[in-house]
């Protein structure tokens, strides 16, 4: 079921031409989508490659649970189409502003509150067509869930911030929308809430969100009527509106909002959290949110020592990503060179060396 509206267009040929042209004169490119995730990563000063015109759902068959869309397709359009068919994106991408695109969501790899319950964004990418740094069109993966032919370079594109290829279109595994969604709020302090949650997550309960705002624990449940009711009875707390989870997903909840910087500190969900213990958290404790212009200088080493890492979501202070070990950084440089030998695609967006 390909769908279309008046503004859909396949700009593959023009985009390939633009990358080939840039490659011919060794001119770096800044790949631009809706600009909603611009706070993630460092600014790139290079010739813009505008992706928002390359848009439209290429194929969607609800019975296959697979959707293929061009990278510039607005996320809101995809989510509306899925909702009409009782389906959704399992990785629940945060909408950090109007006009966010599918390509931007995949390139930044930023998952939403369902992360610990349903998996990473890349878990739902089945395939991608990309332009490499020479403007060559490459198709990795496909439209089927089980596919182990060739290296999974399509998964590599998730979270690579456009530094390994220009995403042209992406095939996603989509999931059925749960029949019932419920939200609960509990007046439970942070440490106690983490312990309670660790226990709940070891049980087969239909949890789909666990956020702590510093004072209260917010839980979301998604599933069949009977299972959700049983879980609600077990968990207790007060009923809340599941729609309130949009603000948790979009990082506009009062404890996350603001004009300043926002930093995502990923830590092992149940491990010690050091100086980050008092921060609001999401994803069952796997992500601590720091609202600040910049993390304290010692935070980077501490996050690493705890087995975690920091990345910037909003703001301008650097670095934007947790520094890599020398061995891993060297490997990143070689991987980058494999797909973008002249270093033309979003250079420096993640790390100066790639």
């Amino acid at each position: 079921m390909p769908t279309s509206n008046g503004s859909d267009a396949d700009l593959t040929a023009a985009l390939a031409e633009a990358v080939r042209g840039a490659a011919a004169d060794r001119r770096p490119l800044e790949i631009r989508g809706g600009g909603t995730h611009a706070g993630m990563g460092q600014p790139v000063s290079a010739t813009p490659l505008e992706m928002t015109g390359h848009r439209g759902v290429v194929d969607y068959d609800p019975a296959e649970l697979v959707l293929t869309a061009r990278a510039g397709t607005p996320l809101s359009e995809i989510e509306a189409l899925l909702a009409e068919n009782g389906q959704m994106l399992a990785f629940e991408p945060p909408r950090l502003g109007p006009g966010g695109t599918l390509g931007g969501a995949v390139a930044t790899g930023l998952p939403g509150p369902r992360r610990p319950f349903t998996g990473a964004l890349r878990d739902f990418v089945l395939g991608a067509r990309i332009l490499d740094g020479r403007g060559e069109i490459l198709r990795f993966g496909g439209t089927v869930f089980k596919n182990v032919a060739g290296f999974d370079a399509f998964r590599l594109m998730a979270g690579a911030h456009g530094t390994l290829g220009v995403l042209l279109d992406i095939s996603l595994r989509v999931v059925p929308r749960p029949a019932v969604e419920a939200a609960r709020v509990l007046e439970t302090p942070s440490a106690e809430a983490l312990a309670m949650l660790a226990d709940l997550m070891r049980r087969p309960l239909p949890l789909s969100g666990a956020f702590h705002d510093g004072r209260r624990l917010h839980l979301r449940l998604s599933g069949g009527r009977a299972g959700v009711d049983a879980a609600v009875a077990r968990i207790g707390g007060e009923a809340a509106d599941p729609a309130a989870w949009d603000a948790i997903r979009d990082l506009t909840h009062p404890v996350l909002a603001g004009p300043g910087g926002l930093w995502r500190i990923a830590l092992p969900r149940t491990g010690p959290s050091g100086d980050f213990a008092s921060l609001p958290w999401d994803q069952g404790g796997g992500v601590r949110w720091l609202v600040a212009e910049a993390p304290p200088p010692e935070a980077w080493a501490q996050a690493a020592a705890l087995g975690g890492h920091i990345e910037r979501i909003r703001g301008a202070a650097g670095p934007a990503f947790q520094p890599l070990s020398p061995g891993l950084l060297a490997l990143h440089q070689r991987v980058k060179a494999a797909l973008d030998p002249d270093g033309l695609l979003n250079p420096g967006r993640m790390y100066a060396e790639i």
Partner: protein
């Protein structure tokens, strides 16, 4: 055999003096960890695909990650190809030794290093058997979800290399979805940790790239696995159909209704009858196809879903819908499915298991076309599918003692894989490309894509010494293979020199 290593088409490395190899490697390994005698090498000459055999110059059995690193460095210095091997249960020849190379066997890495029931993780060495993880996790109410049918014997390191799936991956995902980090050693002997205990590790998702890379990028020496809570309730439905197409329609109806079964398996008439004779599972022998649909989760939800799925199956034309009455019957129903491969022994002396994936909607067409191809090649085919995710396992029946039968089976297998690609599927859903499907890679990928794979390999292994001749074909091989197989009247790789 069509696909034995061909120095012209695969990879060619200068032979290494056995004395030099011994002098360099033996001191790096524990006593008895360096094997070169023919009778010691024999057990390693093939993996789970015994039609492919080759002898390595030596087998190395390291016990520590430092020894793995030292062996890899030494092989790099000597320019000797290295193939890593886990339990050797792979079905695509991925652990087939490179003739004259080193086979690095990880069987001594067999310890579960720890289970953290609170974090729901297991830290294991690569030689740990898949099922052993779930057994160790069970007292904590947890399990490791990927369950390839070889789970009794196959090892976690091999599972990572192949991105192994299994019956329950429809709901719980493949290996890549169930690991948090992997410690790997590159050919330079560098020890790297990819991924990490916190989600979405910094930088590129190299762990995801590494998973399923079939031993071409590095050697796995430790893995942090994600465990899941054991479901509260598990129920199984068996549905019989008098027409395979109607069974396929039922699969589509279940998936479209928003049900996510834990497993959704299909067997056609020949397969189910052989399985019934073998395992006495209680299957209806006269059916043209059966579906097994497993639902797990909270008791209340499972009861609801069982009702819904039963209705959908009846509406799709099932002639019989049976819900396993108890755990014993559920296990019996599964025993038939899990015994389907060995049961083929009742139909023919040998069988060749194919592993393609297709979009579910193409199932009726592919089934019909497969029947036609089987007739053309003069061989029987029994079908076992992971229907829920479109992963087909046609079992081609042949007799290796009949002159030319194996070649016929291989030709039919290749044709079926190309059929899968032609409907938008893949030549392998879970068994890997290995040596077996090296030619079909040329059908699924363009020369530019094959080149990109080689470039990615070179980022990890510039000398190309890790598992050469596997998983990613050379363009020379594709040119040669393209010369034999003309698709849609067009000769692929027309610009390349032909041998």
């Amino acid at each position: 055999m069509l696909d034995q290593f061909d120095p012209r088409l695969d990879a060619d490395f200068p032979a290494v003096d056995p004395a030099v190899l011994r002098a360099r490697l033996e001191p790096l390994l524990p006593a008895g960890g360096f094997l070169t005698r023919l009778e010691a090498l024999r057990p390693y000459e093939s993996d789970g695909l015994p039609a492919y055999r080759a002898l390595p110059a030596a087998v190395a059995l390291p016990e520590t990650v430092e020894q793995v690193a030292a062996v890899l460095r030494a092989c790099r210095d000597l320019g000797v190809p290295v193939v890593a091997r886990g339990a050797g249960t792979g079905l695509s020849g991925g652990a087939l030794p490179f003739p004259g190379g080193v086979l690095l066997v990880l069987s001594k890495f067999s310890r579960i290093l720890g289970i953290d029931p609170v974090a729901m993780t297991a830290r294991v060495q690569p030689g740990v058997r898949n099922l052993a993880v779930s057994e160790a996790a069970a007292p904590h109410g947890l399990f490791y979800a990927p369950d390839p049918s070889s789970q009794l014997a196959c090892s976690i390191g091999g599972n990572v290399a192949e991105n192994a799936g299994g019956v329950h991956c429809l709901k719980y995902g493949l290996t890549v979805h169930n690991i948090l980090s992997a410690q790997v050693v590159t050919l330079d002997g560098e020890i790297l940790t990819l991924g990490g205990p916190a989600s979405d590790a910094a930088g590129y998702d190299l762990m995801a790239l590494f998973t399923g890379s079939e031993g071409l990028l590095g050697v796995v020496t430790e893995v942090l696995l994600r465990l899941q809570p054991l479901p509260e309730t598990t129920r199984l439905i068996l549905a019989a159909f008098d027409d395979v197409g109607r069974a396929a329609g039922a699969v589509a109806a279940i998936m479209a209704a928003g049900v996510v079964p834990a497993g959704l398996e299909m067997m056609d008439g020949p397969a189910l009858r052989a399985a019934e004779d073998f395992a006495k599972a209680g299957y209806p022998r006269d059916a043209a196809a059966i579906l097994l649909c497993e639902i797990d989760g909270q008791a209340e939800d499972v009861a609801e879903e069982i009702e819904r799925v039963s209705g959908l199956l009846r509406d799709s034309g099932a002639t019989e819908v049976r819900i396993a009455r108890d755990e014993a019957e559920r296990r019996r129903f599964w025993a038939g499915r899990k015994g389907a491969f060995p049961a083929m022994g009742r139909l023919a002396p040998d069988y060749y298991c194919i592993d393609g994936t297709i979009p579910r909607k193409a199932l009726p067409f592919v089934l019909a076309e497969m029947g036609r191809l089987a007739e053309v090649h003069g061989l029987g085919v029994a079908n076992v599918f992971h229907a829920g995710d479109g992963n087909l396992h046609p079992l081609i029946l042949y007799d290796a003692n009949l002159e030319g039968d194996l070649e016929k089976a291989e030709a039919l297998g290749g044709a079926i894989l190309e059929l899968c690609v032609s409907v938008g599927g893949s030549i392998t859903g879970e068994h890997g490309v290995g040596r077996e499907k090296i030619n079909q890679m040329c059908v699924q990928f363009s020369p530019a894509e094959v080149n990109a794979f080689h470039a990615l390999k070179a980022a990890f292994d510039p000398a190309g010494l890790l598992n050469p001749g596997k998983a990613i074909p050379t363009l020379a091989r594709c040119a040669e293979y393209g010369g034999m197989h003309v698709h849609n009247g067009a000769l692929p790789f027309a610009h390349l020199e032909r041998f």
